[in-house]
Symmetry: C2
Subunit: 348 residues, 2 copies
């Protein structure tokens, strides 16, 4: 056992021995297995199949994926590599549709490539490392800013996983919870199990247990009942994309929790780096919602649980309108009661 | 394959060969196994361990359990059996706390016993069969009354299982859905998977597939997103206890769905026989909420899914206040916008 918390110990994304090493989050908490990737196709698969998930983590992974792609294309043809690399970047960009951090990271790759002369690998590797490190720094700052909003003695509820596993390290919403816990402001931490993928039970609980922060899991449907009981004062969640008007895309179930929070006077905090804010998407209605395979609902651990012949409707995300959000916390600052003007002021 | 729908074919509770036969609902939909019970202790265990579940089904099961107990006590001692039987009835009554149908059925047993002379078994068996048959008749009537409230072309969402498996046969909320489907009034049927026990995925889908009624399962957290999409006009649920003011106890997640329905202008229908109405419980706050084992949330099919060291908070039911309910449908009639006066008029 290490004295380090999981936010220091967990390295969901690592560059080592000239390759990308990803902790396979599908196997947690039972097994800690790292996949070693040298091929951009395998990186795109890993994003699509949720070896790695969480909007910031997907962005960082894509940046490292671009390094692998550039290495291969440059070795293949030192003249035409820029052109062929575009195919690889498009493959990465299409791996998952909702998290804008993916497109944001690839846009930075594209910008960087404009000035590259000669071998692109070292330049893109430096960029990927910078994106990774900036995300960790942003998380620490958001942790401070978000924790300061939470009144001492509060209980918090979170949804999905937004910790070290979902980001470069430390976490967005879970970073705020870590900071608030360290500052002695929290009376209790609750986590939705987060169906169908059980990110809450499998990942968030795993991180919090390692940090010795007591956590109570609940089924997603119990969140409203919990709020009615008076045990939580804040719902703290991450985001996969924030539109220019402050509407928030996040893991399916977030909207239900936000509606329940609104009904009970529980405040809603969305914690995400500016790389998650997409000023080119006017409203939540313009955010593409990924529909994932029915099997994620109909099966558990490869075993069919639902009756044969039943269908499933499996949207991976939902949209929480800005009107239900009390505060958006970014590394640049907090937008309270978000609206187009507040978002514009933040991002300009 | 049978031409019969599951509401005709499924016999979750049967009296055959002088014993109680229960379809083990923990094993569905994978296996159809009947447990054969001759002992009241085994019946109490079956209720507590959810071999049989659903408020009306629990009441019927308890009535048959009383037959087995009376047989044993009468054989044991033809003088003192009335006294010793009380212990058995108390054991049955304490098997689960929330569903009032259990106490209701045992009160009818108690009333019946007052006039028994000689061997109590035949009299109690006749009573149990009457309770069972009355429940089926009530379900058919509720099916008609509830279906008439649903505008043609509506989509419906249900939660948990309220069909043949949860009742004497046909179902409460699922009975309404069956009747409305048969009458051609429904555009779509959605069912929450209903964590942690997955009654929706395992049981409701199983019943509807057998009836050839198309059903789409969704994770409980997706219900609000579904409502926002405009695909459902009614949330139709059962109940484990309805208080004198119209507050409704039902499977955990019902309250969250009702809050979301209220937010979206989706109507809420609660379907339950009068045996579920408890005029001695003034409000929902007076209904005891069963807290079930943490393992139901932390494990799936006996395998740990959550991180070791995580706790779980596992209330089995929640309370939906009358203000969020548009109609309570019983076999005696419909109470729209339920309140104490409406409930009193229904039950008097």
């Amino acid at each position: 056992m290490s004295d380090l918390g999981s936010h220091d110990r967990v390295r969901a994304i690592q560059w080592a021995e000239d390759r990308l090493q990803l902790l396979d989050q599908r196997r947690l908490p039972g097994e800690e297995i790292y996949l070693s990737l040298t091929d951009v196709g395998a990186v795109a698969d890993a994003i699509r199949d949720m070896v790695v998930r969480g909007a910031p983590a997907i962005g960082i992974t894509a940046a490292f994926g671009a390094v692998l792609a550039a290495r291969h294309r440059y070795m293949e043809d030192r003249q035409a590599w820029r052109e062929t690399l575009q195919t690889d970047l498009a493959l990465l960009g299409g791996a998952r549709p909702t998290a804008v951090n993916l497109g944001w990271a690839l846009a930075r790759v594209g910008e960087c490539l404009k000035t590259v002369r000669g071998d692109p690998e070292p330049v893109l590797l430096a960029l990927a490392r910078e994106i990774h490190q900036q995300d960790i720094t942003a998380n620490r700052r958001m942790g401070e800013l978000g924790a300061a909003l939470i009144e001492p003695g509060s209980g918090v509820l979170t949804h999905c996983n937004t910790g070290s596993l979902a980001t470069g390290g430390y976490g967005t919403a879970l970073g705020v919870i870590r900071s608030a816990w360290a500052a002695g402001r929290l009376s209790a931490v609750f986590a939705d199990e987060t169906r169908p993928w059980l990110q809450g039970a499998r990942l968030t609980a795993w991180e919090l247990v390692q940090d010795a922060i007591p956590v109570s899991l609940l089924v997603d449907g119990a969140a409203a009942h919990l709020m009615k009981s008076g045990q939580v004062q804040w719902l703290v969640v991450g985001s996969d994309r924030i539109a220019a008007n402050g509407d928030v895309a996040n893991k399916i179930g977030t909207y239900a929790a936000a509606v329940a929070a609104h009904h009970h006077g529980v405040k809603v905090m969305v914690v995400a780096p500016c790389s998650t804010v997409d000023m080119n998407t006017p409203t939540g209605a313009d955010i593409p919602i990924e529909i994932r395979p029915e099997s994620e609902v109909l099966e558990l651990a490869g075993q069919s649980v639902a009756a044969r012949g039943a269908k499933a409707w499996n949207p991976a995300f939902d949209i929480t309108p800005a009107q239900l959000v009390d505060a958006i916390v970014t590394e640049r600052g907090v937008v309270e009661r978000p609206d187009p003007a507040g978002m514009k002021a933040l991002m300009s």
